[in-house]
Symmetry: C3
Subunit: 341 residues, 3 copies
C-alpha cells in the first residue's frame, strides 16, 4: 500500500481534511512510532502530550485537539478519532489483503448432503459434515471442521483449524480464530458410588451475528438447552465458556476468562483478562469486571467490580499474607481493645 492519497481516505471514511488531498501516507502508526509518511491519531486526552513530539505527517483528531496539531502537518478532523482509526484499519486491510477468489480447495472433504454457498471459500483439508449449511461469502480456513447439521451464517470467516461441532450455529459476519472449539461436551457428571457417570450433553451452541471469538477459545454445548452467545459479543483468546451459559449482546471479554456452567451474563458488559465467573449466577447488563477478579455470586447492580490481591515485593507480600490468615483473630483483638474500659 504505497502512497495512499488522503483524498481517497476522506472520500471513503468522511472527516474534514485540513490539508492537501493529494498528499499520500504509507502507513498507519501510533503517535510515538510515526514518521512523516505515517497517519496517526489521538484517541484520548491522556495522549495529548505526545502530539507535539510525534513525527506523524497526518493526524486524525477531534475538534477539541485540532489546535494541538503542530504547524505544517495535515489533520483530519472527526468527532471520534478512535472510531475513525478503526474504520481506517478496515479500509486499509481491505486494500492490502485484496479479495481472494472464492474457491473450494480440491482436498476439502464436503459431504454431499451439505449446502455450501457457491461463493464460499473452502481451504485445504476442510471438513464439512452431513447436512451442514455454510452461507454466502463465508471463508473456511485450512483444517476447519464444520460438523453434521452445523450452520455458518453469511459472511463468516473461520480461520485455519476452527472446529464447529455437530448442530451448532454461528451467525452472520462471525470471525472465529484458529483453534476455536464450538460445541464440545459440557462438563456434566452424576456421582455414582465414588465414580462419575456422564451426563450426555444434548444441547448445542447458538452464536449471534457479528461475534468474534479468539484463538483456542472453547464454548461448550448445552446439557439440555443451548449455550447462547448474543449479537456483537467479542471474546478474546483462551476463554472457557461452560455449558448453558448465556452472554448478552455486545459484551466483551479479554483473554483467559473462565465462565462456569449456567452463568447468565448481561449485555454491554466487559470482563477483564483472567477473571473467573462461577456457575449458576446472574450478572445484569452494564457490569464491568476487572481483570483476574473471581465473581462468586450474582451481580444485580450495574457498576465496576474488582477483587485482586495487590502484588508487592515478595517479602512484604509474605508478611501481609501471613497476617491475612489471622485477620479474623485480629478483628477480635480490635474489638477487645474497643471494649476495654
Amino acid at each position: 500500500v504505497n502512497g495512499v492519497r488522503l483524498g481517497e481516505i476522506v472520500a471513503a471514511l468522511g472527516g474534514t481534511l485540513d490539508g492537501d488531498p493529494d498528499r499520500t501516507v504509507e502507513r498507519i502508526a501510533p503517535l510515538d512510532a510515526a514518521d512523516t509518511a505515517s497517519i496517526s491519531f489521538i484517541a484520548h486526552a491522556r495522549y495529548r502530550g505526545q502530539l507535539a513530539a510525534s513525527k506523524a505527517g497526518v493526524f486524525i483528531v477531534s475538534t477539541a485537539f485540532a489546535d494541538d496539531v503542530p504547524p505544517g502537518r495535515t489533520r483530519i478532523v472527526t468527532p471520534d478519532p478512535y472510531l475513525y482509526y478503526a474504520r481506517l484499519t478496515q479500509w486499509w486491510a481491505a486494500r492490502l489483503r485484496g479479495r481472494r477468489p472464492a474457491a473450494r480447495h480440491p482436498s476439502a472433504c464436503i459431504d454431499p448432503s451439505a449446502a455450501v454457498a457457491d461463493d464460499a471459500e473452502v481451504g485445504p483439508f476442510a471438513v464439512v459434515g452431513p447436512g451442514a449449511w455454510v452461507g454466502a461469502g463465508c471463508v473456511l480456513g485450512a483444517h476447519t471442521v464444520v460438523g453434521a447439521g452445523a450452520r455458518i451464517g453469511d459472511g463468516s470467516r473461520l480461520a485455519p483449524r476452527v472446529t464447529v461441532l455437530d448442530g451448532c450455529e454461528v451467525g452472520r459476519r462471525g470471525v472465529l480464530h484458529s483453534g476455536v472449539v464450538i460445541g464440545a461436551d459440557g462438563f456434566g457428571f452424576a456421582p455414582e458410588q465414588g465414580a462419575w457417570t456422564k451426563i450426555e450433553q444434548l444441547g448445542a451452541v447458538r452464536i449471534g451475528d457479528d461475534v468474534e471469538i479468539g484463538a483456542n477459545t472453547c464454548i461448550d454445548r448445552g446439557a439440555l438447552g443451548d449455550t447462547v452467545i448474543g449479537h456483537g459479543v467479542k471474546l478474546d483468546n483462551l476463554i472457557q465458556v461452560g455449558h448453558n451459559v448465556h452472554i448478552g449482546d455486545h459484551t466483551a471479554m479479554a483473554g483467559c476468562v473462565g465462565i462456569a456452567g449456567s452463568a447468565r451474563i448481561g449485555s454491554h458488559c466487559t470482563v477483564g483478562g483472567g477473571a473467573v465467573i462461577l456457575g449458576h449466577l446472574e450478572i445484569v447488563d452494564h457490569v464491568h469486571v476487572s481483570a483476574a477478579t473471581v465473581v462468586t455470586r450474582s451481580i444485580r447492580k450495574p457498576g465496576h467490580y474488582s477483587g485482586v490481591f495487590p502484588f508487592d515485593e515478595n517479602a512484604s507480600w509474605e508478611k501481609n499474607a501471613a497476617t491475612l490468615r489471622q485477620l479474623h483473630a485480629l478483628r477480635d483483638r480490635v474489638r477487645t481493645l474497643e471494649n476495654k474500659p
Copy 2:
C-alpha cells in the same frame, strides 16, 4: 426422537413408573423449561420449590419428593434421580445419534505398521503413526493425530482434532475433546550462563480407563518417568497438566485449572475452575479445592480448601486492597495498643 414411550424408558433404566407406560415424552428438560411433552427431574432438595410450578408432564423423583409432584402428572420414582437423569441422557443420546457405520475415511493416513481395529472409525485426514495401536470400537475424529507407538484403548472416542503424541497411552472408553494435546514436551530447562538449555522430555503420558478430557486441555509428557492420569478422572476444558503430575482415580477438575510439574494429586478429589496447583507438592485423597484457589503447599488432610480475594464494588476493593498492603503494620499497631498500660 419423537414420542418416546415411558414403558421403554423404565424397561431400559429401571425405576417405578407411576402412570401410563404408553404415555410419550419428546424431550428431557430442566424443571423451569419443561412443557407437557417433557420429562424432568428433581436432583436436589433446593429445587423442590420449582416442582409445583413446572409444566413437565413427567417427573423423575425420589421417594422423599414423590408426593410433591403435582396431581395429574406422571412420575418415575428412583433412589437417585440425578443419576437416573444421567443414564437417561446416555440412553437418549444413543437413540438420537445412532451408530455410525465404522469406516476408515479414504483420506486418512494410517502407517502400514500401525494396528487399527477393524471396527474402529477413522475420520477424514486422521493420521496414525508407525507402530500405533487403536483398539476395538474406537472413533478417531477428523484431523486426529495418533503418534508413533501411541495406544488408544478399546472404545475410546477422539473428537475431531485431538493429538496424542508418540508413545502415549489412552485407556479404554476414554473421551477426548477437540484440541486436546497429550504428550507435548514438559517445561524443563537448565540455566546456562543466562540462557536456558532444554531438558529433553523422555517420559510419556499414561491415562487410565474411563477418562474424559475437555477441549484444548494439555497433558505434558514426563521428563524421565511418566505423567499418570488415573481411572475415571474427568478434566474439563483448557486445563494444563505439567510433566510428571499424578492424578488419582476419579478426581474431577473444572475448566482452566493449572497444575505444575510433579504435583501428586489424590483420588476422589475435586478442583474448582481456574485453580492453580504448584509443583512438587502432594494432595491426599478426598480433598476439595475451591475455584480460583492457589495451592502453594501440600495438603495432607482431606477437606475443603479455599483462597480467593472476595470481589466487591471497585471503590471498596481499592480501599481494602490498599489497606491490605499495610496489614502487617496494622497488626503491629494493634499489638502496640494491646501493650499500652
Copy 3:
C-alpha cells in the same frame, strides 16, 4: 537404548569419570526411582540426603558432593550436574529418536510460490501458503499451517497441528508444540454506539531464535507494529500473549500466564504459572513474578514480586475473607483507638 557405555557419555559430554568406562547404563532416572542400571544426578543440595538411599549405579555430581556417593558406585564429576543432565537428555534423545529421513509427505499442500528447504521434513496434511519460507532442516508436523509470507527459520521444529499465520516469523531452532497459534488477530475494538467496531490488526509476530512455545499457547499479531518475542524465550502451555507485547531475551513463563496487549517485559525474567500481566505497562529485566500473581502496574526494579491470597481450610478462609471486606473500616477503628487519650 540398551547398554550405553559411560565412556561414550563422557566422550560426548565431558566430566570426570570416576569408574569403569565400559560400564553401561540403560536409563536416566531421578534419585528415588533409579536402579543399578540407571544413571542419576544430584542437582541441588536439598537432594543430598537422598543420595545414600538411591539405588542408582552411576551418579552425576559436583565436586562438593562427590564424597557423598555411596561406595561401590560410579560417579561422573562435573561443575554443574543439572546442566550435565540436560545435555545428557539431549544426547540420549538424539540416539533414541534417531533422525527421520527428511521427506515431504505427498498429502502436504505446498503453494508453488513457497520456498521450502530441500531437507525440511513436511508431514501429512501440512499447508504452506503462498510466498512462505521454510528454512533448512525444519520439521513441519502433520496438520501444521504456515501462512502466506510467513517465515520459519533454519532448524525449527513445528509439532503436529501448529499454526503460524500470514506474515509471521519464527527464528532459528524454534520448538513450537501442538496447538500453538501464532498471529491470530489481537483483541482490538472501538466502541460505537454500544457496539464494537473491529480494529483490523495490521502487524505481525516476530519471534527470535531458540524460542520454545508450549502446547495451545497463543501469540497475537500486532495492531499496527509487531508483537515481538526475543531470543531464547521459553513459554509453557496455554499462555496468552496479547498484541504488541514485547518479551525480552531469555525470559521464561510457566503455563496459563496471560499477558495483555502492549505490555513490555524485560529480559531474563521469570513468570510463574497462572500469573496475569495487565496491558500497557513495563517490567524491567531480571524481574521474577510468582505464580498466580496479578501485575497491575509497571515494575521498575529487579526483584521477586508476589500477590496471592493464601489458601486455607474453607471455614477459616470464609471468616478471613469476610473480615477482609471490612479491612478499611478495621483500620479506621484502630486509628480511633490510637487517638483515644
